[in-house]
Symmetry: none
Subunit: 412 residues, 2 copies
């Protein structure tokens, strides 16, 4: 079943906004069995939108459109689509109430532009938007489906997952595609590939393997397509068991849970608590941990000790040791971990201190040098890493490495 | 002058690789005066490539193609293009030497696949590749230009900057394009549009306006095209001055700097310091602030007080008040802001306390209720917000709102 993705917006064509929507949609829709034929990005102009839509409908069964649905004048998509399919815009009471609730909830009054957003085509089904004011729409004609959604990524993603995918599955018979993920940490892609080479060469040819690297992690995806889900799953599971015997200790999840979720589950099982003391990661580890709903069950808090003064006064780090060893050192990061564990009275703690860059590096401690410590009632363990030159990636890699060390400490 | 960007590769269509090439090329080529008409992404299949190329050449003067030039069987682009323009592949001695130098430099010997990469069309100019083995090619026909480059981003970028852009400038007389951004905060898109309606209606028709929303912020983009950069900039700047008189207090940047960068500059100018006390934002504000290189000049640290116990012990919040008012309250968030400012000895501080969700809401304080306080030597200011149901978005909006309040406090 072929599918086209059509992105609308001048901001994409002038290179201001990166088109992450087409990428995310491709992944999600490919996962449920669609063959993505083409991505097309056009400007907010009627002639461009109609020409692209004709092209897409001439070649695919389903067309997913994002963008051009805001309340402002440069957003034309809904009008164009409604006309294209021979309908007209009418007021929708449910959508009006959705918008009113959102606008007044934010402390504003409904204005004319908000009211206009409650106008929806009389020839389409409406996709309610829980995260924004522009609804989506679902047109059908001659056995083909055209879906239009807002371009704001989080609105589009929620609408796709909650409504569009379930409706597509109901409407269209798709082949069974099974994807299973193996999340690994603490081993670079090239090392992983080398260790898995023999296994990979002997994979059944019905199974496709992909390496999906991100800072500090590599995710392996095993995919297979067919008609019988049980059979496919059994074949893939057999291969996953083989992978476990080769790189078991690097695997932290077979359920697509990120490290912070896995750690949350482990802590909850032990009825244990956690705190962090962060210098180079600047609160990012605490942010990852508190992304997980219910983190307050085990996370008591963090001290982001960016200044040495804060390390000394809020964590009890020894000032002389900072002078002697420098803030980026085994001695200091261990004192930070012990300090926050004592101060916040938790079972476990994490501490980081490093040179995130791009400035601040020295010959002895170049940009990318990071010390990480994890502490428990049994004492403190620390390790040094040498990452790269990019500040954002160094922060991310430090956080993932720290969570990986904590996980090892908890399960040991 | 219209230009199409054509990306070739299955990895883009299954959502495995994000198409950063089209984004980067758009930015670079728009800056030198091209109007990017369309991005198209197709698979490594002859019929798809030819159909997309026909479409692009039918509408644009220049087509830039990336991808499909690797040494393996699934890479067909060069053969297809050579045939499309009626030529044939011939051995190119310079390219052969480029490839040989690269391959042997990496410690390998030339193999058959490498030799084949030295075959180039006899009807195109060759673009040498200093960073990889696949050369680029430049076809011209009926006054139109088609450029084909490798899909590997750093190879493509070097080839574009070093050869393609200079050649395009030589060949084509291009207009001047100017884009200017207005970053706003604290006002939703529809309200902003209402306030700006009269101004928008009176905009010179040479200027295009776009609204680009993200959680808690709306960015306005004014674009214009012409021949005289000074004139265009003067026209746009005049309009920006008008916008400033209408929504001045919501504008935080005219230089494309995010709030954390703007605040960093303000603090550095005042020689002032900052700390944060975060409950519902869980360290995310500290993370945003420390994303900025050099933040250690003004950011001393944060206390993420997720547990009430941490609020009491690390920030000096009154335990009885927590019992009486609840942790999500004016009283507590103000005590947190004052507490962290005193504790970490900073000029300014930020505090947040709210129900990020999805659980934890009550009738009185539903999910999305957030209290934010900012403190300085003049005292403490607090405000309550009612955001939505999505945890990640509530965290983001709380952080942006808090940074907005801090900015207002600093500049008042």
């Amino acid at each position: 079943m072929k599918l086209d993705i059509l992105s609308i917006g001048d901001e994409l064509l002038i290179g201001q906004t990166l088109n992450t929507n087409a990428h995310w949609l491709s992944k999600e829709l490919n996962l449920i069995g669609f063959q993505i034929r083409q991505h097309t990005t056009v400007s907010d102009e009627e002639i461009a939108i109609i020409s692209a839509l004709n092209e897409a409908l001439g070649n695919s069964d389903v067309v997913i459109i994002t963008g051009g649905l805001g309340p402002t004048k440069d957003d034309l998509t809904l009008n164009i689509l409604t006309k294209y399919f021979g309908g007209k815009l009418i007021m929708n009471e449910d959508v009006y109430q959705d918008i009113e609730k959102m606008v007044t909830g934010r402390g504003y009054e409904m204005n004319e532009l908000n009211r206009q957003q409650a106008l929806v085509p009389d020839n389409a089904k409406v996709l309610r938007n829980k995260n924004g004011t522009a609804p989506g729409t679902w047109f059908e004609k001659d056995g083909k489906i055209v879906v239009s959604m807002p371009g704001v990524p989080y609105e589009m993603k929620a609408m796709t997952s909650n409504t569009v995918i379930p409706w597509l599955k109901e409407k269209i018979e798709l082949p069974v595609i099974v994807h299973k993920m193996i999340y690994t940490q603490g081993i670079p892609e090239s090392q992983l590939a080398e260790k898995l080479e023999d296994w990979e060469n002997n994979l059944p040819n019905t199974i496709k393997l992909a390496y999906l690297p991100s800072p500090g992690r590599v995710k392996l995806r095993l995919s297979s397509i067919g008609n019988n889900r049980q059979e496919i799953e059994a074949t893939i599971n057999k291969e996953i068991e083989k992978v476990k015997t080769i790189i078991g200790k690097n695997i932290f999840s077979l359920t697509e849970d990120e490290l912070q979720v896995v750690i949350g589950d482990l802590l909850r099982k032990e009825n244990a608590t956690l705190s962090t003391a962060e210098s180079c990661t600047g609160g990012y580890i605490a942010h990852l941990i508190t992304q997980v709903s219910g983190a307050s069950d085990y996370f008591k808090g963090a001290v982001v000790s960016y200044a040495n003064e804060t390390k000394i006064e809020s964590l009890g780090v020894n000032a002389d040791d900072i002078n002697q060893y420098g803030a980026v050192s085994k001695q200091i990061v261990e004192q930070m971990a012990i300090g926050v564990r004592t101060k916040l009275n938790t079972n476990y703690s994490i501490a980081t201190s490093g040179v995130a860059g791009p400035s601040g590096g020295t010959d002895e401690k170049p940009v990318g040098t990071v010390w990480i410590a994890v502490a428990s009632e049994d004492g403190v363990v620390s390790k040094t890493f040498q990452f790269g030159k990019d500040r954002a990636i160094n922060i991310e890699r430090s956080a993932i490495a720290a969570l990986g060390m904590l996980r090892s400490l908890i399960i040991q």
